[in-house]
């Protein structure tokens, strides 16, 4: 299920049901920015991964077209981060997903992703 980049960052994931996904990671020193909190790209990658897993859980390939990220709160190393994606809309050719990134209950970031669905291609999920 996890792709190479997710694995290299230590992510874990589950797809509780089609259209939803959760991804976790421990925030380590190599994931930080220069002022000691989670790098914006790391938080985004967690959210984007939940979006990719949720949008590819519907039986066909889904690729990201456009995304939006709101940064709300900084986080410190040692915390466990969680991103949860839920499906806002599933159309024939497109899907919209909303993702919240949290640490211990606090909302750190909010993400919206639009995916293009290729009905004739298999999803981008590896068998493991």
């Amino acid at each position: 299920m996890l792709d190479p980049f997710m694995k290299s960052l230590g992510f874990e994931a589950e797809i509780p049901e089609p259209g939803r996904a959760r991804v976790w990671a421990d925030l380590k020193p190599e994931h930080l920015n220069n002022w000691g909190s989670a790098h914006g790209g790391f938080l985004y990658t967690l959210a984007d991964s939940a979006f990719a897993l949720a949008s590819n859980s519907r039986g066909c390939l889904a690729v990201a077209l456009s995304t939006h990220m709101e940064y709300i709160k900084a986080s410190r190393p040692g915390v466990r981060l969680e991103a949860e994606a839920r499906e806002v809309h599933l159309g024939r050719s497109t899907g919209v997903y909303s993702v919240e990134v949290r640490a211990g209950g606090a909302l750190l970031a909010m993400f919206t992703g639009t995916a293009f669905r290729k009905a004739d291609k298999p999803p981008a999920l590896s068998p493991d």
Copy 2:
């Protein structure tokens, strides 16, 4: 200049002048998604890093509030990626930056970032 997450991904960077930044990376197998092209989070982190460097090159701390990413073209391992940030607006409390991500001339993604500027705090750039 590079922060821990940028270093862990093998980024290189320069700030040619205040308000601008360029970041490079070689696309390696561990940066890919399950269909063999650059992970959306990797491309985003390249763009976000150029945004962070450009917005923190103005003498005060700048933190990301909101970002937008358009995915245009997939890329293959082995290419050299480049993100270039330019300043669209520099206000007293906020700044807007536009970033293009390219590989060998082809436009892969387009990013827009809004930063909040804290005039009384030093920028988040390490001395190296």
Copy 3:
């Protein structure tokens, strides 16, 4: 409470509590695009107005920095549209609001807005 542009489009609004706002409008022929559904700018203005009212309900001036709109479903003339804004985050200098646009229960569009708060200035709400 309504500003000149909201009035010119026939909007009605309420602020049920600080940080929330609802705006309604009847979709009329002059609000349509060339294929007979609500113009994207009309739906956006409904959402943006709910965002403006919610973010200016906190006792200080809030101005829009950055917004994002997802178009999900088309609508037809004659329907009653409703936008509801809720506060996702209220910080000292910024606020984040999420708005849903609906017609008769169906979700037409999803909006996210980031506002800059000027603590020393009164909000932009007229007394009526």
Copy 4:
């Protein structure tokens, strides 16, 4: 070429070449917000209209999926506003457009729009 909502707001437009569009409007008192500058929805509608015209100038129907707006500078009544859309990407099923909104040379707002293209349907441009 103009749709009902554009006409009701007094817009004028031209499509100088396929993939590009320009839209103008005079900012009138009924287009303002409560602090006397152009309503965010009015500026957005100008940008969104340029996006719609540019994306529908390619011979097939294009509908907006996702948009992003950055507000940079306020404007005063009496000015002439102009939005210019340029094509960043034209794919088989999607297109990306960048729009700048200006008044007398000053950049007021920056817009990005993603469109879904329906190759088998005619564009949404009226014959006039």
